[in-house]
Amino acid sequence: MSTPEVPEYAERLHRAATATREHLERSPVDRWEIFAKASYTREVEVTPARPLRVIDVEETGVAVRTLREGRMGFAAASGLEGDASRRAVESALATEVSFAGDPLPPQRLLGTTEVRSARILPPRGWATHVGEELARAVASLSDNHLRLRRTILQEGAFGWILATGDGWVARHEDTSTTLLAEVELVGERAGIWRDWLHIPEPESFDPEAAAARISDRALLTRSRVATDSGLRDLILHPEVSAQLLAAMAPLFLATPDTEDLLPPLLDNEGRLAAPSLTLVDDRSNSDAPITGPCDGEGLPARRTLLLDEGVPRHRLASFRDAERCGEVPRGGALRLSYRDYPATGIANLQVLTHGGVPAAELLGTADRALYLLRPLAPVSCRPETDSYRIVASGVWLDGRRVCGWHPVVELRGSLGRLLRRIEAVGTDLRWFQTERGCIGAPSLLIRRQSVVG
């Protein structure tokens, strides 16, 4: 993390963890866990004809989980120095409530997976340069039909320490770079097209390719409005696929048998989706947005197979949820901030695309298909009634030719049937931040779905 502009956190984290440990050792606790985190974020907003907006944030904090005589406590306090450790420990002891079992994983389960060393943040000025280059590339690519409204580049570096009272310690440092771009059609009130790009390697970032990616959908909507209905092939843009997966995500989290909504969705062969769909939560993928040697509780980072060619395999669970639901603990806890209790969650949910088809080919294989470009409302899935609903805007395709823009289209029906009709996945996987976590999704080709115009 030690680039010229980024503060050096390792030593401060170590001192905070030591101070917290000393407080805990003087307290009447049976077991404990410390999590200390420091992060530095630089956000640069480039808006044509407006002053540059720069936000530099350094945030640090300590969290403590304690257990004594069947009572559990959790508290977090900001800062690494001064009172932070004392406040975290005292608050954790003050929040203790009776708790069945032990929420802290046993030491035998703890461990780390090797991860690559922290990347260097781009140099100062890079974000401004990228914003200006993108604006130029978007205008040129679209013959000035599109305008880049604004670009926000977020570059961050972070480090953390996780330590337990049994003497186990894990450390991690990394950086991340993301870009949010908004484009709009010049002179038309047709909405803003927003794209979020995860940039794993800033040094090889290509503004022309990024401009193509953030412009493609907006350009497709320049055709005449055309509505249609009936049974049609569907192609979901990666953003729509990601929202569908986000809506389905609770199906992949551990649940007690009595509340399990998955079995009624399975067909006679135990299949939830077509064989083309394989889903994993991959915490060992160093190019994915969430990285680290272990999960939020110290279990080694791993790839968890959730859906194997359409057949459910495993589910994500924190240690406590795994115990409660009779699952094998696989390291499914997530702790995005020191402020949050480590809970079951998605880190990097992604569709495996090794058997996929290039997106351009996918678009050409469908007959009179509806290509859904973006959701207009949250995608809803109700497993208890085996139903889904997508409200989106899209374009009608005839082969690869766009023959009309459908501004608002609604799809609803059986969730199981929708998933089992996924014929092909694209190779155009992209990462999205959703309310359920980071999701890596490609285009999906789904045959014969009912479309209401």
Binding site: P51, E59, A77, V97, F99, Y341, V391, V408
Partner: protein
Amino acid sequence: MPEVLRPHPPLDPRWLQLLSERCADLRGGGARFEDLYIEQRLESRAVATNGELQVEECRTDGAAARWRSPSRVVLHARTGLSTAGLGELLGRHADRVALPPVRTLQTVEMDPPRGWLDWAREVTSRLGPAPSTVRFLSRRAAVVRVGEWAPVASPPIVRVERGGERPAALLAVWGQPRLGAWLQELAEPEPTKAWEPTPGMQLPVLFTCGTAGALMHELVGHLAESDLFVTGASPLAGLLGATVSTVGLEIVDDPTRIDLAGGFDYDDEGVGAAPIHLVRAGRLEGLLCDREGAEQLGTTPGRGRRAAWNRPPVARLSNLVIAAGKVPPEEIEADLEHGLVVTRVGGATVDPVSARTVLRVECGWEVRNGRRRRPLAPCELTGSVVEILAKIDSRIGADPTPDWRLGWCIKDGAPLPTGSEAPSLLVQRLEVL
């Protein structure tokens, strides 16, 4: 209405005064010092899962300094409020920083109110077996500018979230007398045999139980925010001074209503709270501005709000209050031949560029010939902003009701508590999405 809450500022007032005087000396590479914002927050959470309650507590503090030059606006923020920390923060931009050499008084720790945990325990048990979270959120802050400083106080709020198959949430000021009744509504079971309106259907919609607040929050509140006016992105941008709705419509954004979740006594740029008349007799009259927007638009500031110490202030709503009319809501409903009555809205958005809004209706009724016929299944309603405003019926309900269902308003990913109070309003036509 509870007495206005004025917690102590996060730091010694005497020291803040000295600091504001010293800020006059701050210079930094051609940039002008704007302000220093300091904040402490407390969040207590009671999380219920499978009948077990877990309590979590999070205490955070931090500060942010803003600098402005013709070519850039910079915000530096960092955790901690120590004198050394603030000196380091200001020193990132300023040429020379010497903070007042006085011993500061230790401020008292913020704590949840007595009885909070018992109350949270009772709430989670009332919500049944579904996972639920009850949060108590409190903050105290101060804004330091050259030669002046202001304490920022806002009422502590509670947020109740029910998970499971039918997630829903409630946001209210702690101690709000109607909280018990709202919790009862939150716990109500979903109606059976609900009617699903056909997409594309266009119907008159009567917004009751305060839900018109959510509608106006999107149609008028957000679109009167100065950043959208400055860029011309708001569909209301050319309509200042024009009649946009029925002459009976009066809309005020009022942060002094501290019984509603968006209340405060100073905004996060240190401007004293005052109501702003947005719509008077159907005419668009006022705008919601932060200091920058007010300077650009030549109007008054007072709505610069920060999602947290590490975010810059932006123009945001506080509490949108729509004045009650004189017509009993039952009378308006009785005149509906075929329409919808909305009793609960679960979310709403507005896209300023396409000028369309989408409202997620959680509960309501189908009305035929003035009678409630079938409960409404959750659905979305949409329409063009300007058209919806123009189609508000001149009969305005005599039933001002605060809305508890919404509250966490999210703009550019930054959430803030807001409130609303509205009477029943009839929109003559909205489209089912």
